[in-house]
C-alpha cells in the first residue's frame, strides 16, 4: 500500500456515480411514465366500452325479437385503478345502467277551418321508447374518453349517457 499515485482505499461508487444513475433513471421515467398511464387508461376505457357494446347488442337483439327496448337495468363494473393518489389495490367503480325512456307526440288539434258539424275524434297521442345507456363514474378522463368514442352521447355531471334511436312504443 504505497506508491506515488495511491491516495486511499479504492472501490465503491462515488456521489457523482450515484447522481449519474439517478439522472439516467429520471430520463427513462420521464419518457415511459406518460406512455404507461395512457396505456392503462386505454385498458380501462376498453373495459367499459366492451360492456357498453355488449349491453347495446343485447338491447338490439331484444328489440328485434320483441319490437321494443328492454326495461331498465343496472350493473356495476370494477375497473383497475391506476391513479397515483389511489392505492394499487383500490379499484375504481363505474356503474353502467340501461334505461328505457318514454316520450309522447301529441298530434296537433284539428284546424279551425274544419266543418263544425263533423265530429272529430281527437287523434291519440303516440308514445315512443328510447334506449339510453349511462355510465356513472367520477373519473373525468373516462368520461371524456367515452364521449369521444361514441357519437350520440353526452356528459352531465358524473354521468356519461348514450342515446339509442327511439321507436314506437308497443301497446301495453
Amino acid at each position: 500500500m504505497s506508491g506515488p499515485g495511491y491516495h486511499g482505499p479504492s472501490g465503491g461508487a462515488t456521489f457523482v456515480d450515484v447522481m449519474l444513475v439517478l439522472a439516467v433513471l429520471s430520463v427513462v421515467l420521464a419518457v415511459l411514465y406518460p406512455r404507461w398511464r395512457a396505456g392503462v387508461l386505454d385498458e380501462r376505457v376498453d373495459t367499459v366500452v366492451g360492456r357498453v357494446d355488449q349491453l347495446v347488442q343485447a338491447a338490439e337483439e331484444t328489440r328485434s325479437a320483441s319490437g321494443t327496448w328492454p326495461p331498465t337495468a343496472s350493473e356495476e363494473i370494477l375497473l383497475p385503478s391506476t391513479v397515483a393518489s389511489q392505492g394499487d389495490d383500490e379499484e375504481v367503480e363505474a356503474v353502467i345502467e340501461w334505461r328505457r325512456m318514454e316520450s309522447v307526440e301529441v298530434p296537433s288539434p284539428p284546424s279551425a277551418d274544419a266543418e263544425p258539424e263533423q265530429e272529430t275524434i281527437p287523434p291519440a297521442p303516440a308514445f315512443f321508447h328510447r334506449g339510453v345507456v349511462s355510465v356513472h363514474t367520477t373519473d373525468e378522463t373516462l368520461l371524456g374518453a367515452l364521449a369521444r368514442r361514441f357519437a350520440g352521447s353526452f356528459v352531465h355531471d358524473t354521468v356519461w349517457t348514450l342515446l339509442l334511436p327511439r321507436i314506437p312504443a308497443s301497446p301495453d
Partner: protein
C-alpha cells in the same frame, strides 16, 4: 527496544527530523488528491445535462415524444349534456302525464329517471326540472311552457341518433 541516545543536541535533532519525515510520508500516503479525477468531472456534467433533459421531457416534451393529453369534457359539451338531460326528462314526465293523467310524485316513479336532475312540483299540473350546468348555473325547465323544446345542439344530437 534499542535505547535512543538523546544526550547530544545533534542526536535529538536527528530524531525529530526522522519523526517529521515519517509523519510527512504517512500524510502523503493518505492525502486526497488536490484535483478531482477527470472522470468525475464529465460524469457530473453529464448528470446535470440528463437531469435537465428529464425536466424538459417531463414538463415540456417535444412533439415526437409527447403523448396525447388525457381526454376531458369541455364546459360547452357539459352545458349541452345538462340541457339534453333536462329535455329528455321533461319528455318522459309528459309521457307519464298522458298515460296516468297526473304528474309523478317523484322522479323515481319514472322508469327512465336520469340522475342529476331535481324535480320540483309546484302543483298538480306545474313542475320544474333543475340541473346544474358546468359553470354552476342552473339549467331550468318550467312546464308552463307549452311544450319542452330542445336547444339547437340537443335537437341536432337527437336527430343524429334517430336518423342513425
Amino acid at each position: 527496544m534499542t535505547p535512543v541516545d538523546t544526550s547530544s543536541p545533534e542526536e535529538r535533532d536527528r530524531l525529530v527530523a526522522e519523526a517529521l519525515a515519517d509523519s510527512e510520508a504517512r500524510d502523503q500516503r493518505y492525502r486526497p488528491p488536490s484535483e478531482p479525477p477527470k472522470d468525475d468531472r464529465w460524469k457530473g456534467l453529464l448528470s446535470l445535462v440528463l437531469f435537465v433533459c428529464a425536466g424538459v421531457v417531463g414538463f415540456a416534451p417535444p412533439g415526437w415524444l409527447a403523448t396525447e393529453p388525457p381526454p376531458t369534457v369541455p364546459d360547452a359539451a357539459r352545458a349541452v349534456g345538462a340541457r339534453a338531460t333536462v329535455y329528455l326528462q321533461a319528455r318522459e314526465i309528459e309521457a307519464f302525464r298522458h298515460r296516468h293523467q297526473r304528474l309523478p310524485d317523484e322522479l323515481s316513479e319514472l322508469p327512465g329517471a336520469l340522475p342529476g336532475v331535481r324535480f320540483v312540483r309546484s302543483n298538480d299540473r306545474v313542475y320544474q326540472l333543475v340541473a346544474r350546468g358546468p359553470d354552476g348555473r342552473a339549467v331550468v325547465f318550467d312546464s308552463t311552457e307549452p311544450r319542452p323544446e330542445p336547444s339547437a345542439r340537443t335537437a341536432a344530437l337527437l336527430r343524429a341518433v334517430d336518423e342513425s
